[in-house]
Symmetry: C2
DNA sequence: GTATCACGTCTCATTATTTGAGATTCAAGT
DNA sequence: ACTTGAATCTCAAATAATGAGACGTGATAC
């Protein structure tokens, strides 16, 4: 199994939080999912409840807690989602294509904001949709700047290669053709947090017929510009606090 | 000092995460803020980095990490912010007043979504604004359903009383006059997560001249209806995953 | 160029905490 | 009323975590 971090209790706590990522979970299920003994899971989960990082639902099952969301809010997540709305709408109106923001979530990427092209043939991805990290231009962006271990792990069974990801880092954007779904093309660029780390991918997607076989050529400037604008917006807001 | 949860390492880890809520922090600052010895803070912080709950910025300072935000996203936070936009706009258009969503963050409440009345005299609260938990109808909502210990602690120096909070729980909404700012009135209602817990407060605010000295009488139905609609939206989306 | 200082990282003897088998309690099902 | 399964609790034993002090590094002062 995975190597520890040097603090066993935190390894176990992290395993419990990871298990809770999939929704409310009973004690027995946590024991099965984490392979930790029952009293130990119980004690650590109760401690996490005490600190608000975990809660209990109406059936007594454990779930991710409010304090965790508070900390994420402090890390800027709410501002990202809130600010993204207007920027996605602007990019949609400029390009005439649907636009989205994706964030990594475990082994998937999840859509956390979107602006849909209102009429005609379009790629619809509702907020909350979970897509694979193995295909698509957003997956390339979310993986390209990861540390080596996580990148190698992510490339396992992926439809792109280390060479493609090196190109993504060089150009600052990624494109894909029919990777996630036949007939769909997409372009993505990185959204960076205050520390420069990639925290999300800003994407534009639509039919290959309109975007051609080189969607990046047509749209990379608009997409990278919107992603940069969003990154700057987040940086400015942080400085005001 | 605060009593422990029964797992000392998690108490220390929680203290470190709480300290990071205020932004990037050096090791020395963490040692000062948490009163934990230097090698211990270093070891626990490194372990949290390993699990992604904490990151390092370009100056080597510790900060809240991406994995924490991923977990918050899984807990529904992004969907809340995304879904809130359209509901706040609708409530604004129906009532003609500015509307907001607040979430608790440490000893404050923070605005995570807002829709501003476009013209004339209006109460403007930009996203990211931190307001006091000691005054205002949103603070009453965020406190009314807390467990007893947290409620008693929150009422210390507050401009409302346990009796007022009991009325809030009975009616399902709160109102305030000039508590946060002279001349401003507001009405708020609870937004509940899947487990029924209060996760945010949905508010409407404006000048007392328009909202009168009983803003709840005029607007409580529209506000509670919007808050309920948002709660239902979150519940439905969770069931689809 | 050298010395000093402050911060971050690492080591390991010592100390304290965590662990988990088994007991107890409780609620649901028959 | 009895059985079953899950959650919670206890405490002797085992293991991990602790923190004083050493080391490494970079910045600053002289």
């Amino acid at each position: 199994m995975t190597i520890g971090s040097g603090v066993g209790v935190l390894d176990k706590a992290a395993a419990i939080l990871n298990a809770l990522e999939n929704g409310p979970t009973s004690l027995s299920q946590l024991v099965d999912l984490t392979d930790i003994s029952r009293p130990t899971v119980h004690r650590i989960a109760q401690s996490l409840v005490h600190h608000g990082l975990v809660g209990r639902d109406m059936h007594g099952r454990f779930e991710l807690g409010n304090r965790l969301v508070e900390l994420a809010s402090a890390a800027g997540e709410d501002r990202l989602v809130s600010a993204a709305g207007s920027i996605l709408i602007k990019l949609r109106d400029i390009t005439g294509e649907s636009t989205q923001i994706f964030r990594k979530q475990g082994d998937f990427r999840v859509c956390i904001a979107s602006a849909e092209r209102p009429i005609g043939l379009r790629d619809t991805i509702p907020v909350g949709t979970q897509l694979s990290m193995k295909a698509g231009s957003a997956a390339q962006i979310l993986l390209a700047w990861e540390d080596n271990e996580r990148m190698v792990d992510g490339l396992h069974h992926a439809r792109f290669t280390p060479t493609i990801l090196a190109g993504v880092r060089r150009r600052g954007w990624a494109q894909s053709l029919g990777e996630r779904e036949p007939g769909v093309a997409s372009v993505s660029a990185p959204v960076r947090g205050q520390s420069g780390r990639v925290i999300a991918a800003l994407s534009l997607s639509g039919p290959i017929e309109r975007l051609t076989r080189q969607p990046g050529k047509i749209h990379h400037e608009a997409v990278t510009s919107a992603a940069h604008e969003l990154s700057e917006l987040l940086r400015v807001q942080n400085d005001h606090i």
